[in-house]
């Protein structure tokens, strides 16, 4: 990603995205921040906690899971968003360029 920052994020599986019956693709430019693997991600903890409340259990055992808590932060600046209504990818997506 450092060499080629053009990336895309596909939200297609409700199990992971929490978006029922919708499919969204975000294309954007990624910025990899690995300057502080141990603490760089901490500013995003409130968002992480909102998505996965049980993360505090892992956080409490932080010293035992050093490898788990070393994290690269990848920030993606969206350039284009495509959405398939009702998750029907046989029909054209709606596109928004940013």
């Amino acid at each position: 990603m450092k060499k080629n920052p053009k990336v895309s994020l596909l939200f297609s599986n409700p199990e992971g995205s929490g978006i029922e019956k919708q499919v969204v693709l975000v294309q954007g430019i990624a910025k990899c921040d690995d300057s502080d693997l141990d603490h760089g991600w901490e500013r995003y903890l409130p968002m992480w906690r909102k998505k996965e409340p049980y993360i505090d259990g892992f956080l409490a055992a932080r010293e035992q899971f050093g490898w788990f808590w070393k994290r690269i932060v990848v920030e993606v600046e969206p350039k284009k968003i495509l959405a398939w209504k009702n998750g029907d990818t046989s029909k054209p997506a709606e596109a928004i360029s940013l």
Partner: protein
Amino acid sequence: MEEWRHLQTRGGNQFMTSLDLVDPDRISRFGYGVITWIDKDGFPFSVATDFLLSENGEILLKKPSAPPMMPGGRVGVLFNHITGIPTGGYTDRRYMLVWGRVSEDQGFLKLHAEELSEWDEKILPFDKLCAAAVPQAKKYLESLQPSIDA
């Protein structure tokens, strides 16, 4: 030593059929595939679609409505599964990532598999997967060291 299959990418320069590379029983346990290719602007374009296996083991992807792929261009097709645990974490994590090319075939895209990498935590538990990745992690951390020292 089936578990070690999951640490190696197979295929590459050898000529193989999709059936040689991809276990049809294993792939049939997935509900859909995600096709990815590079679009005209240089970004990865990914779209999920249904698929089926023909009687002779061909992987046929339902043709999605999407920008055209470069003729003969390379695609990656990800078949994946995950189940969330209500109390936290995930289980039944598995994927098969097939690299190859597609050709149109009666409303479907026929996948010509060239390379495969896969992981199934029921075959190779997550901790063993992590342990196997230690040399790669060590190399990465060593590459960061100069910027940490600076």
